[in-house]
């Protein structure tokens, strides 16, 4: 209905292969970005509702952005390459703790070599990226089994990662710089000399990260590598007979996915939590990301955002709405009903629309494009 595609013809492959080939979509995207980058800060500056308090920024937008980033990472592995992962929490943790170590300075005594690796504290940005890198390395390590084992068996391998690293960060004090409590504090967030403190600054920081990585992810999945991943997902044998190297395809998927998840992890720790314990990245986190991807839509960058939004908003709604209606609901009931609803929704989506919200979205879009025709 809103689409006017007549006359939007492509005279070059570049234009034909663009991410948003339709003008109306480009406009929509522009609007979204404008809101995110300009309107939100402006409203916050003016303390206009809903920015009267920084609740919206602190408790919703920032975690939303970071988890969306995480979901994008998981989606690359699960949605595009078809390798199930139940250990994403661990990879967030790896990102977080590596970033923490790099941020606070690494000192690794190697007595038996009579030497020691020690790196001075790095600035935040490199630490975060290095955090991602470490996650990527470990990701590749735990991806290796995927060359021999498939499906459920692989899921178990990723679980192994989850439990192993839960344990590592609890028990290996070196990672927490031997803090007695085991909880650690993020270094102060300095980027190129300017300090990121207030919620809005944190929000913008996350926004930048998410934008950059979303673009990178999109570029990868629409290119040669993305096609290799999807080929492995859809028909791995045929893919290999086309000359796609499973080793390369799968491990790159693990690496990229873990990298993004790792960065998300370090953001979660540094920007959202500020100070945290290993519990912040336990298996529940893994499932949270998993659900975001399933509900949002396997194999869709957009879906990652939708899923993150849903999983994040649901409990808040279940908590707020009854209050608004004057029906007092215990915290426990809320958390339990969240469990039930998410679980039920998963089953429902798997049955009626395995590709989640993203698919529903694109169906709606198709309808608008075909309007007034039904098909």
């Amino acid at each position: 209905m809103l689409y006017r595609e007549a006359g939007q013809f492509k005279t070059s492959y570049a234009a034909d292969m663009a991410v948003f080939p339709i003008r109306q979509d480009r406009i929509a995207l522009g609007v979204v970005l404008a809101v995110a980058y300009l309107l939100v800060p402006l409203l916050d500056l003016l303390h206009v509702w809903p920015f009267g308090s920084d609740y919206l920024l602190r408790a919703i937008l920032v975690p939303f952005l970071i988890l969306s980033l995480g979901a994008i990472g998981v989606n690359i592995l699960m949605g595009y390459c078809g390798q199930i992962s139940l250990g994403s929490g661990a990879f967030m943790a790896i990102g977080a703790y590596s970033a923490y170590k790099f941020g606070t300075g690494v000192h690794l005594p190697l007595e038996w070599l009579g030497t020691a690796i020690s790196i001075p504290p790095l600035p935040v940005l490199p630490s975060i990226l290095l955090g991602g890198l470490m996650a990527a390395v470990v990701g590749i390590l735990f991806g290796i089994p995927s060359l021999r084992i498939k499906g459920l068996y692989l899921a178990v391998a990723t679980l192994a990662a989850q439990f192993f690293f839960d344990w590592v960060f609890i028990r290996v004090k070196w990672f927490t710089n031997y803090t007695p409590s085991g909880s650690v504090n993020a270094p102060e967030l300095k980027f190129f000399g300017l300090l990121v403190e207030s919620p809005i600054e944190r929000y913008l920081l996350c926004l930048v990260f998410v934008t950059v990585f979303a673009v990178i992810a999109k570029n990868l999945v629409r290119g040669n590598l993305g096609r290799q991943w999807m080929a492995m997902r859809d028909m791995d044998i045929a893919a290999e007979l086309m000359g796609i190297r499973p080793l390369y395809a799968k491990l790159t998927a693990f690496a990229v996915s873990s990298f993004i998840v790792g960065v998300a992890g370090s953001l979660w720790a540094f920007v959202y939590l500020g100070s945290w314990e290993p519990l912040a990245f336990n298996i529940d986190r893994s499932f949270q990301l998993l659900f975001m991807v399933i509900i949002g839509g396997l194999g869709s960058i957009l879906g990652s955002f939708l899923g993150a939004a849903f999983i994040l908003i649901l409990p808040i709604l279940l908590d707020q709405v009854p209050h608004a209606l004057g029906v007092p609901v215990s915290v426990e009931t809320v958390s339990l009903s969240v469990l039930i609803i998410t679980g039920a929704l998963i089953c429902y989506l798997l049955i009626v629309e395995p590709l989640g919200f993203a698919r529903l979205w694109s169906i709606g879009k198709e309808k608008l494009r075909l309007w007034p025709y039904p098909y």
């Binding site: 492959y13 570049a14 292969m17 990178i216 570029n219 990868l220 629409r222 290119g223 040669n224 590598l225 096609r227 290799q228 999807m230 080929a231 997902r233 859809d234 028909m235 044998i237 045929a238 893919a239 290999e240 007979l241 086309m242 000359g243 796609i244 190297r245 499973p246 790159t252 990229v256 194999g299």
Partner: protein, 272 residues
Amino acid sequence: MKADVEPRPGAASLKEAGEVLLSVEGVSLSFGGVRALRDVSFDIRKGEIRAIIGPNGAGKTSMLNVINGFYHPQQGVITFKGKRRHDMRPYLAASQGIARTFQNVALFKGMSTLDNIMTGRTLKMRRGILAQAIYWGVSQREEIRHREAVEHIIDFLEIKHIRKTPVGKLPYGLQKRVELGRALATEPDLLLLDEPMAGMNLEEKQDMSRFILTVNDTFSTTIALIEHDMGVVMDLSDRVVVLDYGQKIADGRPDEVQKDQKVIDAYLGIPH
């Protein structure tokens, strides 16, 4: 457009001259107790269309799987382009120039016709992961270059109208065509076609025959195909090898094979 599937006079004899591209010597393959292939030997010459026929369960598909390294025979030697080939992962076979279509279509269901065929270019794409992450610049140029190549295949196979349709939505005949396109995209020296015309109507078969012949003519691609439709086999192929119960029972020109008593028996299911 009418498909010309008349056997081209002299073409076959002319190809006898072509040197051996791939030879299979004494190949035996078995799964647990089941013996899929027993001591099979034959060769495929450059530029010819070689048909592999035989009753169901004769081991035809297993033979193709052996040729492109998906199965590893317990005994036997495979020589490709004059080099003796050791057991290898299938993707290596592909990188050496062996492409393949499948008995029951094995397309990437989640992707469009265009993307499916683009995957065939993987081996030819060099850009590293970083370049691809940035996309604009070298990577985009590479994508465009290969898109052009693929568009020529799409044009050749007359599937312009379904360029951007998800292959899952396509009718069977078109899926087969897309699969052929995907194989062609790898610019193979040896093209293995596993029942390229199974389940097609007459018109589709004629089109497919036309494509196969044109591929063979214009790109002088060597083709080995499994096919049940005898008419098609006789029209298309220069030489035919016949398998039965995993054994080679005949090998030669279509007309010769057609007369061979063993072959007739095999097809009539006469025990031996």
